[in-house]
Amino acid sequence: MKTLNKYLSFLGIALIIFMIAILLIAFNGSNVFKALSGFFIGIFGSKYSIAEVFVKAIPLTLTGLGVAVGFRSGFINLGAEGQLYMGAIFATYFALLFPNLPKIVMIPLLIIVGFIGGGIWALIPGILKAKFKISEIIVSIMFNYIAINIVGIMVRTILKDPDYPYPMSPRIPEGAMLSTLIQSTRLHSGIIIALIATILIYILIWKTPTGYEMRACGINPRASMCSGISIYRNIVLSALISGGLAGLAGMSEIAGLQHKLIEGLSPNYGYTAIIVALIGRNHPLGVAVAAIGISALQVGSLAMQRSAGIPNSISSIIMGAVVILILARKTIFKKLVTEEGMV
């Protein structure tokens, strides 16, 4: 009964969102039917488009997991965007530094290097928080801007492709590329990385003593400390893992999709990840599902822009509205969900 009510309330949200979408489309003077069919065809229309949903879901899952791990352990990481870029820089640099490594060696190393890249970038706000109690919210946002500028510097200096005037790195060697999984789509084996990461993070957070400590620290650091858990260690660890996962996303974008470092690599994945983490309730499996959902929303609205000329600001509107409605759900659907608060 309780779960039924819960689902009903979510259905209500879906309905409201649907109505908002129709309203916006109508405002835009477009054919609602054409737009909506464009939306769904854009998602489910072909093997390619379905694959596209997963292509975008890969970085969203990885960054989303990162943000969720942080949230669980009390590290409010708004810096996934910057960490993604740092992972991308590290991975590209490494791949270009050792162009002749065989794939079997290269890919695992890239995973480690990408993880470290993102991890280090989160570690700094992590240590500042753990040691000096400096708000990680502000520092991690500032670090996004800094990281993006570092990418700009890298692709114009150390990592610049000497053969072209464009600000981008040379192509990474064949051995560093994640293979394509489905012919004539862009779906690459980064999805396997995302899948494994989801499972590992689930196990880490919910099944291991370390994960337990991280969660405990996230809820009540003082009590955790009193029973012998090191807060410092756990904030630093969660920052490292949180940033590392975002770094993995950057690595997977380089190795699986772009094959070179270039500005604008991430269409705000790092910020969207925060929303993904929320909708996924900071639970690894939820995050994966939410990532696919948000990715589908984005892929669909892009298609809608092409088929019916709907400005794609609509996906930003809907993403914002979805989150707000979910947060307000218990109040809006008071009658339905009052029982939910009780255990």
């Binding site: 196990i203 099944k207 291991t208 003593p209 337990y212 400590e213 969660r215 405990a216 809820i219 009540n220 003082r222 009590a223 955790s224 400390m225 009193c226 029973s227 012998g228 858990i229 090191s230 608060g341 009780m342 255990v343």
Partner: protein, 508 residues
């Protein structure tokens, strides 16, 4: 005519009934006690009166008129005041700012602080509530905070004062002072509702007593018509057991040994050369006014803070440099004075709170993963053995009453025959039944050869269970006395107040 009548009050939380048809009748100039076990509904009833909760059913008459308070402001406007169980003061504001908070005095919002301070002084002088208006609340001792709370009510002209467990954190002298004030208030025509678990006090100062059990009113009696035994019968449905401390043979060699322990914080010595030996099977009680370094002492022993001087030994092994975790592994247990902050993770369930200690125990780890099955089994065992009242072991600990929460902490910290226990205010806020249970468990440990340090501001408790009594004042031990039949309580009281003579005499 009665000042306050609460009639047939019903209240339930999430479908679980907390108050059933409760009635309460308070006259002008009366001190009325509200008694009951933890979770009986005392606070809930008062919170309804004060506008914090809304009642489901029933009626409240204030001076004969039916009223409904929707917020504390309504209650304050009707000259009802309440001091909560956990003080509600803003630590970063001054005493005076706290007292006048939310009031609109002349010139608002540019109040004349000087004038307000004078008014406050006037009240504090009248009732002997000594306080400095410009001190920050964060710098006050608990007793002083209590005074601020009371002045706050008086400043607001409260006719009815509600005090929810005002004595739980006070020293005997402070309690005595409080009672003097209450009597003075009664003389001045104020009425008081006091919630407390201290039965002797109830008998000495109140006029009437209402007893709640499981959300129902059991009885309202005139104080002069009852005695302690009857009251405990009313409260917990039985009489308290008579506890006896049997003499236990003390081995001098091992146990917990503090040698000249010091702690320097921000240039101040908060612990000053503390030496103490707790033999196995010994309970040493540390008496003292709250805030004289007891918390530091407890935390230094547990390794939550690191001492800056001296050595700490457990069974002749130097543990000075061990982390909290390792100390616990060696067999040390800690019951903190603040279970909500230090002891429990309120949003986690019973099993997870049990794991707070057990998760680092090899027994509960299987191939790097937590052995959930075993953890649940153990938690279930604990729930049965300690009689913890809970819906299930998956219930967030937040939903348990204080006594039951404390039982879980106790069970967790006493697991596996500990060698040493630091019990800091273990019965604070607990009802007599629950307190008795905790004391029983401590005795059981003592019997098993555990060294126990009991720190409490409640001298009664110290006297009831300790073998030796150490009195703490400003980070020092003023002396260590043997707890004998004819122990001089007034001497302890003087030591607690920092009488240096006593200290010197002990040293000599």
């Amino acid at each position: 005519m009665s000042l306050l009548v609460m009639q047939n009050i019903d209240k339930s939380f999430f479908g679980k009934s907390a108050l059933k048809q409760v009635c309460l009748d308070v006259k002008h100039g009366e001190i009325h006690a509200l008694l009951g076990e933890n979770g009986a509904g005392k606070t809930t009833l008062m919170n309804i009166l004060y506008g914090i909760y809304t009642k489901d059913n029933g009626e409240v008459f204030w001076k004969g008129e039916s009223i409904q308070f929707d917020s504390p402001k309504d209650a304050i406007d009707n000259r009802i005041g309440m001091v909560h169980q956990h003080f509600s003061l803003v630590p970063t504001l001054t005493v005076s700012q706290n007292i006048t908070l939310g009031l609109k005095s002349k010139g608002y919002p540019f109040s004349n602080r000087k004038k307000l301070n004078e008014e406050i002084k006037e009240i504090s002088n009248k009732y002997g509530l000594d306080i400095c208006p410009d001190a920050y609340v964060s710098s006050l001792s608990v007793g002083e905070q209590q005074r601020v709370e009371i002045i706050k009510l008086l400043y607001r002209n409260a006719e009815l004062l509600i005090l929810d467990e005002p004595t739980a954190v006070l020293t005997p002298q402070e309690i005595e002072n409080l009672y003097i004030i209450l009597r003075k208030l009664r003389e001045d025509g104020h009425s008081v509702i006091i919630i407390t678990h201290r039965i002797p006090d109830v008998i000495s100062i109140t006029d009437k007593i209402t007893v709640l059990r499981d959300g129902e009113k059991i009885a309202t009696v005139n104080t002069k018509d009852v005695d302690e035994k009857e009251l405990s019968q009313y409260m917990i449905g039985r009489q308290l057991k008579v506890m006896k401390r049997d003499e236990i043979e003390v081995k001098e060699c091992d146990g917990l040994d503090l040698n000249n322990i010091s702690l320097k914080k921000d240039g101040v010595m908060s612990l000053d050369s503390i030496s103490l030996h707790i033999a196995p099977g010994q309970i040493i009680g540390v008496a003292g006014v709250d805030g004289n370094g007891q918390k530091d002492l407890a935390e230094v022993i547990m390794g939550i803070q690191t001492h800056t001087g001296g050595t700490l030994k457990l069974c002749n092994e130097d543990i000075s440099n061990l982390k909290v975790k390792d100390r616990k592994k060696l067999g040390m247990g800690y019951i903190s004075d603040d279970r909500h902050c230090d002891g429990l993770i309120m949003d986690m369930d019973l099993t997870e709170n049990f794991l707070l200690r057990a998760h680092s125990d090899k027994k509960f780890i299987n191939k790097g993963l937590i052995n959930e099955k075993l953890a649940k089994q153990e938690t279930k065992k604990i729930v049965e053995k300690y009689g913890i009242k809970t819906q299930s072991i998956r219930t967030p600990i937040r939903y348990l009453s204080g006594g039951n929460q404390q039982k879980l902490i106790l069970a967790r910290e006493l697991m596996g025959n500990p060698k040493a226990i630091v019990a800091f205010q273990p019965t604070r806020g607990l009802d007599i039944g629950a307190a008795e249970f905790i004391h029983e468990k401590l005795f059981e440990c003592r019997k098993n050869g555990c060294s126990i340090l009991l720190i409490s501001a409640d001298l009664e408790e110290i006297l009831a269970v300790s073998d030796l009594i150490a009195v703490m004042y400003k980070g020092k031990f003023m002396g260590i006395l043997k707890n004998e039949e004819n122990i001089d309580v007034s001497r302890i009281g003087m030591m607690m107040a920092g009488s240096l003579d006593e200290y010197r005499r002990e040293l000599a």
